[in-house]
């Protein structure tokens, strides 16, 4: 039979390879692949059950190694599936840190229903944690602000468009005009950098 040319576990392995190789932050959930692996597991299991029952009745140990082998294949498929799901969960967690509590539309399409729920739950618990982590109650700390410890308190930025006046915390007023270069406190201009009004120059 042509189907027999395929090895056990190949599908599951492909699933993982696909995930690993994709260049997107998170590829679309491979519904089809997962289903096929599940089917394979089911088929293996049914065959094993059938043969195990004959062993039980007849006590014929000649099929014993085959049984063991099938079981190992089944276990492997299961591990692969779990790894697939776990890796995706990890990426979804990273999403929360990078993009904040709302998933961008194009990424949302790639997630399946339970994953979205997972994201929401994760987001909720993170928010709850951030609220509780505030030193003086009521002021939550935004842990997602500095993912990497900043090297210096100030950064050198270049203005990409005419923004107008920008006031710093200490009252200094900076005139942000296209093509001017400034050296400013990182914390206060971070949002402008994210908006693309300023760019950080190394």
């Amino acid at each position: 039979m042509s189907r027999q040319t395929k090895l056990f576990g190949e599908k599951a392995f492909d699933l993982l390879k696909e995930l690993e190789r994709s260049s997107q932050t998170i590829p679309a959930f491979d519904d089809d692949g997962v289903r096929q692996v599940l089917e394979e597991i089911k088929a293996i299991f049914e065959e094993n059950v059938a043969q195990a029952s004959t062993y039980n009745t007849s006590g014929d140990r000649s099929l014993w190694p085959l049984l063991n082998f099938r079981h190992a294949a089944l276990q492997r498929n299961k591990r692969c599936l779990l790894a697939y799901l776990y890796e995706r969960c990890k990426r979804i967690k990273a999403l929360r840190w990078e993009f904040g509590p709302i998933i961008p539309g194009d990424i949302k399409q790639a997630l399946c229903e339970p994953e979205v729920t997972f994201f929401n739950n994760y987001s909720k618990s993170l928010a709850a944690y951030m609220c509780s982590a505030g030193y003086n109650q009521g002021l939550p700390i935004d842990l997602t602000n500095n993912l990497r410890p900043p090297k210096s308190l100030y950064i050198e930025v270049r203005c990409m468009e005419d923004y107008g006046k920008f006031e710093l915390d200490d009252g200094e007023v900076i005139h942000l005009k296209k093509n001017s270069q400034h050296y400013l406190p990182r914390a206060q201009v971070e949002s402008l950098v994210r908006q693309g009004i300023l760019t950080h120059i190394a």
Partner: protein, 577 residues
């Protein structure tokens, strides 16, 4: 007011303040501002850098930041204009001027607080004394009002009358007749007129020539050194700054040599200080004798020789005979044509190592003795090795690579980025651009000389480009072209006084507005960068009634209407003969 102690009177004043740095469009200024920015970064001082082009740019930039900043640093701009009058700043704003343009404006020099010029007053030449150019006009008015009483009194004091019996004298002097008083007034007026004409003469002598002082980058680097915050990068920027001065003829070769010695000591000190032995990451600056060939490390030798001003003009490489002579030279050097025609980097290693000595050996014979000069090279890692001149040419090309989607400001920032070591690709792009520029200059020179487009107006040459050009509509490129052209013309001309005559080159700037750019350059035989065209342009414009736009900080670069050009040149001819 001059500030000599940069560390205490300039830098210490600024620490902790917010600063506006206004930078002119030239490489020296870019280098200086980069060094200054590095210093400010160490001390966490907020600053804003604004590139500007010309006086109107300066005015606009200051207008935008007015009220927000109290300390303004002007890099290579503003020294030659009366800052207080131009910008009308509030009382509490202080300007620090770091400008290599000379002569400095006398109002800036004698400003008592608001304008500080970085530099050493004793190095400045023949600044007019205060009393010869400023008349105490407040005192004057009082005198006029109290003419009756105080004036004669003064007269007496001057004539040595005793102080004690002044009161006795005073009533007596009142009795001076009307006639005498009238006489006195006339005498005073005459003295005043004399003083005024004397002042005009002094001011004319002072402002007659425009020239250049010390490189701003070098000055700021010395500040960094005194603050013990210097490093290899800063030193390299200073070197690039001074090399720009050399290549654009802004510095005499004598003072360049003097500066070289000082820089050399900085180089050896810093080399010993950094103990980074890893060749991959260490940057190393070395002093060496190099050749005045543009970008020859990045170009085939034949191309570089042809496109360099000095070698090309000495050998007349745009002619067929010159071409033959070049081949002769290569033959005698023992450099096979196959190698000479491929990029220097791909040449045989042995030939590459011997190239300098080969040229040096034959320099005398081929009358290109001045091709050797002392300079610095920067090696970084294994592959990149740049002479300071390579940097200058590349940055110049980047700065003038204005295109439709690329404003001059973009070009400026790109040039400033290309200075740092992380942006090697920008620099190599700049080098490619510079190659195009030099090739274009050479072709233009060749065709212009063949068509005899350099005309003589008796006391100067002039050259008028008729249509807009992608390269030459910018001041530096036009300057390069003019210098090359003048040298080439002098080399071919038979007239004996040709090396003593300056050249004016003009190129249309903007066809739609009908403006054109005018550049005046000094004669070939002149070693010093003293250029009288700035003042001459101004006077010729006054006489002919042509509207002249002296917006650039280089006085010898001006803009005027294309239609006024002939009239302007005529009046200049009259003025200079």
């Amino acid at each position: 007011m001059f500030v000599q102690d940069l560390r205490n009177d300039f830098y210490r004043q600024l620490v902790g303040k917010r600063i506006l740095i206004v930078v002119n469009y030239d490489i020296d200024a870019i280098c200086a501002s980069r060094i200054l920015q590095a210093l400010f970064k160490y001390d966490h001082m907020l600053y804003t850098v604004v590139p500007i082009m010309g006086v109107t740019g300066l005015k606009r930039a200051y207008g935008e930041h007015q009220g927000d900043v109290k300390y303004v640093v002007l890099m290579n701009c503003g020294g030659c204009v009366d800052i207080v009058e131009l910008l009308q700043p509030a009382e509490d704003v202080t300007f620090f001027i770091c400008d290599s343009h000379r002569p400095l404006d006398v109002c800036n020099i004698y400003s008592d607080r608001q304008v500080c010029i970085l530099g050493d007053a004793s190095l400045e030449e023949n600044i007019p004394a205060f009393e010869t150019i400023f008349y105490d006009s407040d005192g004057e008015d009082e005198e006029e009002e109290e003419d009756e009483s105080s004036d004669p009194e003064q007269q007496h004091n001057d004539s040595g009358a005793g102080e004690s019996d002044q009161e006795d004298e005073a009533p007596k002097s009142r009795k001076l007749s009307r006639l005498e008083r009238h006489e006195q007034r006339i005498l005073k007026q005459r003295a005043r007129r004399q003083w005024e004409s004397e002042r005009d003469r002094i001011m004319f002598e002072y402002t007659q020539f425009s020239y250049y002082g010390r490189s701003a980058a070098l000055m700021v680097f010395e500040l960094a050194w005194k603050l013990s915050k210097d490093n290899m990068d800063l030193l390299w920027w200073a070197i690039v700054g001074i090399t720009e001065q050399l290549l654009l003829g802004k510095i005499e070769s004598g003072s360049y040599t003097l500066e070289l010695e000082q820089i050399q000591s900085h180089v050896s000190r810093l080399t010993n200080k950094t103990n980074d032995q890893n060749t991959m990451s260490a940057s190393k600056i070395t002093f060496e004798n190099d050749l005045h060939l543009v970008l020859y490390r990045h170009w085939p030798v034949t191309e570089s020789m042809r496109y360099s001003r000095y070698s090309s003009c000495q050998l007349k490489l745009w002619t067929l005979r010159g071409e033959k002579r070049l081949h002769e030279l290569l033959l005698e050097m023992g450099l096979p044509l196959v190698h000479a025609r491929q990029t220097y980097g791909a040449m045989d290693l042995v030939l590459r190592k011997e190239f300098f000595s080969m040229v040096e050996r034959l320099a005398e014979k081929y009358d290109i003795a001045d091709i050797v000069y002392g300079t610095f090279t920067l090696s970084y890692g294994y592959r990149s090795r740049y002479a300071a001149a390579d940097y200058v040419y590349a940055l110049l090309a980047i700065m003038e690579s204005v295109k439709k989607h690329k404003t001059p400001e973009d070009c400026f920032l790109e040039a400033s980025d290309a200075l740092s070591r992380q942006h090697k690709q920008l620099l190599s792009a700049g080098i490619d651009q510079a190659k195009l520029l030099h090739a274009a200059v050479f072709r233009q020179v060749q065709s212009s000389l063949e068509a005899r487009q350099v005309h003589s107006a008796g006391s100067f040459f002039y050259y008028v480009l008729q249509e807009e050009h992608a390269f030459f509509s910018y001041p530096y490129a036009l300057g390069l072209l003019a210098r090359f052209l003048l040298r080439g013309h002098v080399a071919t001309s038979r007239a004996r006084q040709a090396p003593d005559l300056p050249l004016i080159a003009s190129c249309p700037l903007d066809a739609a507005e009908g403006m054109c750019l005018l550049v005046g350059i000094v004669p070939v035989r002149e070693d010093s960068p003293r250029n009288f065209f700035g003042k001459a342009f101004e006077q010729a414009a006054q006489k002919s009634g042509v509207a002249l736009l002296q917006d650039f900080f280089e006085p010898a670069v001006v803009q005027l209407r294309q239609s006024d050009l002939t009239r302007f040149l005529d009046s200049l001819t009259v003025l200079l003969t």
